[in-house]
Point group: C2
Chain length 396, copies 2
């Protein structure tokens, strides 16, 4: 029987902890004191879990690595972002490996869930763990990789409804591990090859990023040629194999990041990921297009008499997360030029919203005349219905 | 009641002619004398239609434009390739418009089926037709656009099983035209906007080209990193929204061509089609990769004693067409370096195969020892089964 420690309690770690805690003794570890305090108080500022969900989690929360030393299964779900120069930032992984090394003991199992390029688990993580702990992987302790497939805001594809890959190239407690992981997925796809699982994860996200990018590319062309994009997509969708992706602002911590992970290791090996990077380039360029569209629209409105607000600032529909949000980027740029133009997102945690000086109440909202909707949350239309005498624009 | 003339009797025109001839008086026109002779003899060298199929077509075939002057509906299905510099080659369309102008009369309807970039029908075709005929489109004669969706080698998606867009911005005989076109599709999607229909067609093909390109990009990366590509795709396919495209050699007269049409008009309007062109670049680069793979393999075999053959030379599976075939390109390059390495394609018309000095009989085939299969036609495995003491390689 495992005693499991989930390291990193964000979008990925928290649902893992929740599911595991139903059957196993668990500890939830995060370096972020505020996060741990909140979780103890049953608050999830990302709004993925409500108070009830959180009160179901029967676990211990801690920020001290020493407190998890009695665990024998470590599941690592820390962020793997990119630096400003788009190179992989493995500092959280490095930090975790260093910390685990201190408490690592014989027969411990560590499963990494963070998205990485192929080779990171073996060449980077295991390397640190072995060096620092003086133990041998595959003999003293055992490492596996199970790429997370959490889709924030998507209630349909929660852990229990989706297949989960588990790469574990060892015999030690393989069956037990698979059984434990069966709490974390509909079906566990067991494989021996960590690299295959690592690259499988990044290409899933790149494929989505490129397909949205391509639709954005078509959108840009149609805009320039004065062709009605929606009509075009409806016509094309009458073909049996057309893939109906939607144009939009791609943000968050997966699609704008993962392509650079694959590109990094490919470049190191002299392969060019042309399509992957072209996808990123087009998707990133959408922010300035939408910004221009809004500014052009504002020019046409008699701005002296109109109060303008930009609504929907998180990185995608029905998600409260502002990380890598192009909507937020657009708002910030416009707000810099004109402080009277305000921002609003109905999903944001009120503390965060207030800190960012966003509008937070419907009362305040009703004082505005012109509403630009960027991230169009499901709840948005019912909120806007309550505002009288308004003009609404959807720049994308 | 229309008397219809189908202009251009290739992959697109011939099935249109076949279906229309069941209900309407028709003429089949092509400038290629050999093609017309063959069709009169019920021979289709592309092997899309057999003798029975062709004998069902009750029509008149001609190479003389004067012979079609009694028709009042012209359906144009001529090729729209690219020049060597990848710029759109509209010479066939130009030629057709010039010819139709000579016989054009009041109330004639012309529907273009050829794939073009948005604007060609209005700005190029109608322009020629009006200038040369001295008649006015929209008043004296009427032009529409209905993009072909013929998928060579695909029996499942024949005309009667697929939806067909018909852009016809006129009232004149609109209902009759829709009724006539209902012989050419499962459902006719009528629209008034020709440009929308033009661009809808190219983006359908670009989306496919880019998605195959992206899978090829992943294939190239996996190859370089020594990761088993098939395993990776199987793992990734366990995600609910992964699109399982196959890597391969993209050829033919659609995917390697249409992206350049959209890119041409986009560039003219200062929009960059980065993803579209990156897709082309990766897909084209596959030929040299596969060529290298074959040459490397050959180096390892004791070549002095082995007879080598390259099988499957058409541009895609289960199609007899050699146009823009990367398999043929690879064979030609290898054959230039070593004349003893022969080529074979079981689907090719025997005349064409003999002219190209390919192997044409199973008897000859059985003299070879090493078989490289490029375009892997369905029939290939049963043919290769008959050859004893052979080695087969599938370089992709």
């Amino acid at each position: 029987m495992f005693k499991a420690c989930v390291i990193g309690l964000g979008y990925v770690g928290l649902p893992i902890l929740k599911n595991l805690s139903k059957k196993y003794k668990t500890v939830g570890y995060d370096t972020n004191h505020k996060r741990i305090q909140n979780l103890k108080k049953r608050i999830d500022i990302f709004s993925e879990f409500n108070k009830n969900d959180l009160s179901e989690i029967n676990t211990t929360y801690t920020t001290e690595i020493e407190k998890v030393s009695s665990c024998n299964l470590f599941i690592v779900a820390v962020p793997t972002p990119v630096f400003l120069n788009k190179k992989p930032n493995l500092s959280h992984l490095k930090d975790v490996c260093n910390k685990i090394s201190k408490i690592l003991k014989k027969n411990d199992i560590i499963i990494f869930e963070s998205t990485v390029y192929p080779g990171v688990t073996n060449d980077f993580c295991i390397n640190i763990l072995e060096k620092k702990s003086k133990l041998n992987e595959g003999k003293d302790f055992f490492v596996g990789y199970s790429p997370e497939r959490v889709n924030p805001g998507d209630k349909k594809h929660s852990l229990k409804n989706i297949n989960k890959i588990l790469a574990y190239p060892h015999n030690y407690k393989k069956k037990d591990l698979k059984k434990t992981y069966s709490s974390l997925g509909k079906k566990i796809i067991l494989t021996n090859n960590i690299k295959e699982a690592e690259i499988a994860k990044v290409i899933e996200n790149i494929q989505r990023d490129v397909n949205i990018g391509l639709i954005n590319e078509f959108y840009l062309v149609c805009n320039k040629l004065n062709i009605n994009f929606d009509n075009v997509i409806n016509l094309a969708s009458s073909k049996w194999n057309f893939l109906k992706f939607k144009p939009g602002l791609v943000g968050g911590h997966c699609l704008p990041v993962d392509p650079y992970y694959l590109s990094f290791i490919s470049k190191k090996n002299n392969v060019q990921t042309k399509i992957t990077l072209a996808g990123r380039s087009i998707n990133d360029s959408m922010a300035s297009l939408v910004e221009k569209k809004i500014l052009n629209k504002i020019k046409k409105i008699n701005i002296k008499n109109k109060k303008i607000i930009i609504c929907g600032l998180s990185y995608k529909k029905d998600v409260a997360d502002l990380r890598n949000s192009l909507s937020l980027k657009i708002f910030n740029n416009i707000n810099k030029k004109n402080k009277d133009i305000k921002g609003y997102d109905p999903l944001l945690n009120i503390e965060i919203a207030k800190k960012k000086k966003f509008i937070t109440s419907i009362n305040e909202l009703s004082k505005f005349d012109v509403f630009f909707v960027l991230t169009n949350h499901t709840i948005m239309s019912s909120i806007l219905k309550k505002i009288k005498h308004k003009v609404i624009f959807y720049p994308i």
